[in-house]
């Protein structure tokens, strides 16, 4: 939707941006891994428990993949799960896991967080597709997409069981998690520095990699809304939720 000028790949600003993107991706994957690991403890069914552990391992694998490329290209990534936004995401997830609310956790991890991951990885991967790093982003985006697909049928069934109750739950989690993601992906850091980017906020430098934060965020919201549509959340309701988010 929005366009950006692609700076040649050999400039410092380009590699600084790629490094910060990798830092965010690795931190995000580790948060995802931790979330699935926490979720494993809330499930009684052994098959679902094993599947959950497998998902955690899958996120670990993604983080390993990104770390490997960062090392290969000597990119000094900064992994900080205590950075403001990622820490809040993690704490929010743990609150739902402690209830314990398995469905709530699925909504947060496999719909909200994965929609942002799938969409942003796809955009980053497309922008960097001539590079090995871009190819990895694209392939992980595809894998994460499967997590979303996996959740849709489960959540549809939950909606059918308790229509009003389920919608209320999604709204509560949206207010919890999407508010953090909206602050994180706003054009300016609404809550200060993220604690992951090495220098100043990378958003202003994304153009160097042919990206821009408005497009990244817009496409993520688009996928999130489409996913809610597929689950069966009324279209006006989800737009109403998005309208409430900080911009």
């Amino acid at each position: 939707m929005s366009t950006a000028t692609l700076t040649p790949a050999n400039t410092q600003i380009y590699w600084d941006v790629v490094t910060d993107i990798l830092s965010q991706a690795i931190t995000g994957e580790l948060v995802g891994m931790s979330n699935f690991a926490t979720l494993t403890g809330t499930i009684d069914d052994i098959h679902e428990k094993m599947e959950c552990a497998e998902h955690a391992n899958c996120e670990r694998g993604h983080a390993e993949g990104f770390l490997h490329l960062a090392k290969k290209y000597n990119l000094p990534v900064n992994i900080n799960m205590d950075g403001y936004y990622w820490k809040n995401v993690r704490e929010s997830f743990v609150r739902w896991a402690n209830k314990p609310d398995f469905i709530g956790c699925i909504i947060m991890q496999e719909v909200m967080l994965e929609c942002f991951a799938v969409s942003m990885y796809k955009d980053v991967g497309t922008a960097l597709q001539n590079h090995e790093i871009g190819q990895l982003f694209l392939s992980i985006s595809k894998e994460e997409e499967e997590h979303i697909e996996h959740s849709i049928d489960i959540l549809k069934a939950e909606l059918d069981k308790d229509y009003a109750g389920f919608i209320q739950k999604v709204e509560d989690i949206h207010n919890d998690c999407m508010t953090i993601l909206a602050e994180w992906s706003a054009t300016v850091d609404l809550k200060g520095h993220c604690g992951v980017c090495r220098g100043e906020c990378m958003k202003n430098s994304l153009y160097a990699a042919g990206l821009d934060i408005k497009g990244l965020r817009g496409n993520s919201i688009n996928l999130y809304l489409k996913t809610l549509d597929r689950i069966g959340i009324p279209g006006l309701k989800s737009i109403e939720w998005i309208a409430q988010l900080p911009m």
């Binding site: 408005k214 965020r217 817009g218 919201i221 809304l225 689950i231 279209g235 006006l236 737009i239």
Partner: protein, 359 residues
């Protein structure tokens, strides 16, 4: 798109033509939020990323007592994207919106405003193997332009046969329908469009039929000769110079978005009305009621002709793609849909502009 499907008689696919309306709508949705209103710049960052979806239910009452139920589907094509630069993206959005109408199992769906322009000539591809029949709604729009223009001539005591009629956007689907309708009814046709080849072909056709017509791609050469103007171009007419118009000209702005964004001087503004509009005498309502924010006119019963075409077809139980392609609208088809609408108390709107209804 909602996954819950319920049968609706009609669907209206559309877009907003101003940020003011969008701002009003989004801030209405934020009424529970303690935050201040979102400025236009912030809205523009996210609005066009919203996927098409149904926003509200519509209930239309015919004077026969029949009630038709439908839904409005917003494409979220923003007012800044109504141009060729966003063509590919807009087509995708219209197709998604059409899919939404199909999922709702709407009997008939209309492609309102710019959405019909996007798919003009290709609308039939939507209708292939589709339960929902898609219409551009252009035939009833053209009929209402024609009828309201005749009404305006009566209002200003002008004899139609003595007037030079300028049609800006004459080769478009609605523009060419107006050309056909007014051929032989006015003194001279002044034809204006951007594509010279098609325009010359249109002028030659007029000449073959012994119709006095003059064509130009330059609106400024035609404006001084015009007694009546229909503006029905697909976008804002940037080089419309009101200073070149006759003092007693009658202007019908039938574009969506509005074609004449220039500030018309007072005397001309009083002679400009919005064309292609109809009025539902039995009334209609939205649920939730977004009327004031998204669809506000001087009379709450006024609506666009293209929208009303789908509603009329639904009221008539006709699940047909009445208006498709480009250049297929004939005066006969205009009269036919006009008569169908009339049976249900749906007819051309009273003349109005931003100052309100004309008395």
């Amino acid at each position: 798109m909602d996954s819950t499907t319920s049968h609706v008689e009609f669907a209206l696919i559309g877009h907003q033509d101003s940020w003011q309306k969008i701002s009003s709508f989004v801030n209405l949705l934020r009424n529970n939020s303690n935050d201040v209103e979102i400025p236009k710049e912030k809205l523009a960052e996210v609005y066009s990323y919203f996927p098409p979806r149904s926003l509200f239910d519509i209930e239309v009452k015919s004077i026969t007592g029949r009630i038709a139920k439908g839904k409005y589907i917003e494409t979220f094509i923003s007012p800044d994207e109504l141009n060729l630069k966003y063509w590919k993206n807009n087509i995708a959005k219209v197709r998604d919106a059409a899919e939404c109408a199909s999922k709702l199992q709407a009997g008939v769906a209309t492609l309102g405003g710019f959405t019909s322009i996007v798919l003009e000539g290709r609308v039939d591809s939507l209708n292939e193997n589709s339960f929902t029949k898609f219409t551009t709604g252009n035939t009833l729009t053209a009929a209402y332009i024609a009828k309201s223009l005749e009404k305006a001539c009566l209002f200003f005591k002008k004899e139609l046969t003595e007037q030079n009629l300028l049609i800006i956007g004459s080769t478009g689907d609605i523009g060419s329908a107006c050309v056909s309708y007014f051929s032989g009814k006015v003194k001279k046709l002044l034809l204006c469009a951007r594509q010279q080849n098609i325009l010359l072909h249109q002028e030659n056709k007029m000449s073959e039929n012994k119709i006095d017509a003059k064509a130009s791609t330059d609106v400024e050469t035609l404006l001084p000769q015009a007694d009546i103007i229909i503006a029905i171009a697909s976008s804002i007419i940037e080089n419309f110079n009101p200073g070149l118009c006759k003092q007693d000209v009658i202007i019908c702005d039938a574009g969506y978005p509005k074609n004449l964004n220039c500030k018309l001087p007072g005397n001309l503004h009083e002679r400009m009305f919005y064309g292609g509009m109809g009025i539902v005498n039995g009334g209609y309502n939205f649920n939730p009621d977004f009327h004031a924010d998204l669809y506000s006119f001087p009379d709450k019963k006024i609506a666009h002709g293209c929208v009303l075409e789908a509603i009329v077809l639904a009221l008539e139980n006709k699940k047909i793609a009445y208006s498709t392609g480009k250049g297929n609208i004939t005066p006969g088809k205009m009269e036919a849909i006009y008569s169908m609408a009339f049976k249900h108390g749906i007819t051309e709107a009273p003349l109005f502009n931003t100052n309100g209804l004309w008395n």
